[in-house]
């Protein structure tokens, strides 16, 4: 019995020891897939807010609060997926992502700050200021896509 526990513990320990480095070194194609998933979902939750800001669909404060919260979380997720190991992968990322990493990081930070602001404005701000913040976020998306993403 003791031997069994010992081997189980050893097995678990070894498993953890081996799986951790394996986990932290996700394959480049996996990182690309995951960062694209995070981007796709940002579109899903930003799209309706953008349509509301432009008056294309009726304004719904509940949906905006929820989506802005989702976006705040999602907007933090793609960036560690742009690891140097993914440089050679097929994706819409332009070489500038890797050759101008400092500028890319600044663009992420600007975007992140505006999304976080949107999440807080959405919690109790009036419709006009929420809409204004949505279009500010929109401009940050566009600005970063301009320099760092292949036109789709």
């Amino acid at each position: 019995m003791n031997r069994m526990f010992l081997s189980m513990a050893l097995g678990l320990g070894l498993g953890a020891a081996y799986s951790l480095p394996a986990y932290s070194q996700a394959k480049p194609e996996t990182l690309v897939k995951q960062r694209q998933a995070a981007m796709t979902l940002q579109g899903k939750y930003f799209g309706p807010m953008n349509a509301m800001a432009q008056g294309k669909i009726p304004y719904d404060a509940g949906v905006v609060t929820r989506n802005a919260g989702y976006l705040d979380a999602l907007s933090r997720m793609p960036w560690d997926g742009f690891a140097p190991s993914t440089k050679g992968e097929k994706s819409a990322a332009l070489p500038a992502v890797f050759t101008d990493a400092g500028k890319f990081k600044e663009a992420q930070d600007r975007f992140q700050a505006e999304v976080t602001k949107l999440a807080s404005v959405a919690k109790g701000g009036d419709e006009a200021s929420v809409k204004a913040q949505i279009s500010t976020v929109n401009k940050q998306c566009a600005a970063c896509h301009e320099d760092f993403r292949e036109k789709r």
Binding site: K44, F46, A51, K56, N138, A142, K151, R152
Partner: protein
């Protein structure tokens, strides 16, 4: 281009008709600023002629356009007599737009898309001029272009024009359905879509055989193919939504270069004109994607 067809056909109303005709003739001779403001939107003038910063005065110049030949700065086109075009006549304006010539007779660099604007009708030019005259004057001084040697020599644009520039209004094509013809005018002359969406040769001339087929834009960034090869995957509704909201159907956002064109131009078009633009791009010959250069 006087509207002769407005002359009365029946003798009984000759005097009345003549008065109407004269009024119409006067109006068209002066240009209609109201109509011109729509022309300015369709032509997207404000983009290159306004600095890219928050609160910059519209049409007072300052936008940087980076190209392989250097950086161009859009000039002030408000009626300020020193900084802008306040001393210009309508003829000066038409000459600039139609022939790419400055008041001193030297060439404009084709960063100013006169190879497209040359196709505009006399009436649209006149109305646009009337609108520009109605803008508030702004004294923002122009910035000289920053061009690599020898591209700063305006004289070199003369042989360029021989090769790549055909002046004159867009010739009517009676084969085309009215909507397609209107779309062709909007896309080719006013909105000058081809200036970015048509690839250029090493001298900066548009490759006509690749019209709107995408590739590299004037700033060497990639631009999409607008022929049916790519757009057949888009429904009319998706295209319209994209061109009015600046958003793809999945919530994605285009790059700022197009986002700005959507804000300034395509979202401002009348529904009929937007339909016409779509009808026209649908009628283009499908061209394959430019091979990737890597």
């Amino acid at each position: 281009m006087l509207p002769n067809d407005r002359q009365p056909r029946h003798g009984g109303v000759v005097v009345f008709g003549l008065v109407v005709w004269m009024l119409a003739a006067t109006a068209s001779a002066q240009g209609d600023a109201q109509r011109g403001s729509y022309i300015a939107k369709a032509a997207g003038c404000v983009g290159c002629h306004t600095e890219a910063k928050e609160g910059a005065p519209a049409y007072a110049g300052g936008r940087a356009l980076k190209t392989p030949f250097g950086t161009f700065y859009g000039p002030n086109i408000t009626p300020d007599p020193q900084a802008g075009i306040g001393r210009w006549t309508e003829a000066d304006f038409v000459r600039a737009m139609r022939h790419g010539e400055r008041r001193d007779g030297s060439n404009y660099f084709p960063a100013f898309p006169y190879p497209s604007f040359t196709g505009m009708t006399d009436q649209d030019l006149r109305d646009l001029w009337a609108y520009l005259r109605s803008l508030p004057a702004n004294s923002r001084a122009n910035q000289p272009h920053d061009l690599g040697f020898p591209y700063g020599w305006r004289i070199l644009v003369t042989p360029w024009k021989w090769m790549f520039f055909t002046p004159g209004p867009l010739a009517a094509d009676p084969q085309l359905a009215p909507a397609v013809a209107r779309g062709r005018y909007l896309v080719q002359a006013l909105a000058h879509c081809g200036e970015c969406h048509t690839p250029r040769n090493f001298l900066g001339g548009l490759r006509k055989d690749r019209f709107l087929a995408g590739g590299k834009g004037p700033d060497r960034k990639s631009v999409p193919n607008l022929t049916p090869t790519r757009l057949k995957k888009w429904s009319d509704g998706e295209l319209k939504d994209f061109l009015t909201t600046g958003m793809y159907s999945d919530g994605d956002i285009p790059a700022e270069a197009m986002a700005e064109v959507i804000r300034n131009t395509t979202s401002q078009l009348t529904p009929q004109d937007l339909d016409a633009v779509i009808a026209y791009v649908r009628s283009l010959p499908p061209l394959p994607e430019e091979p990737k250069e890597k």
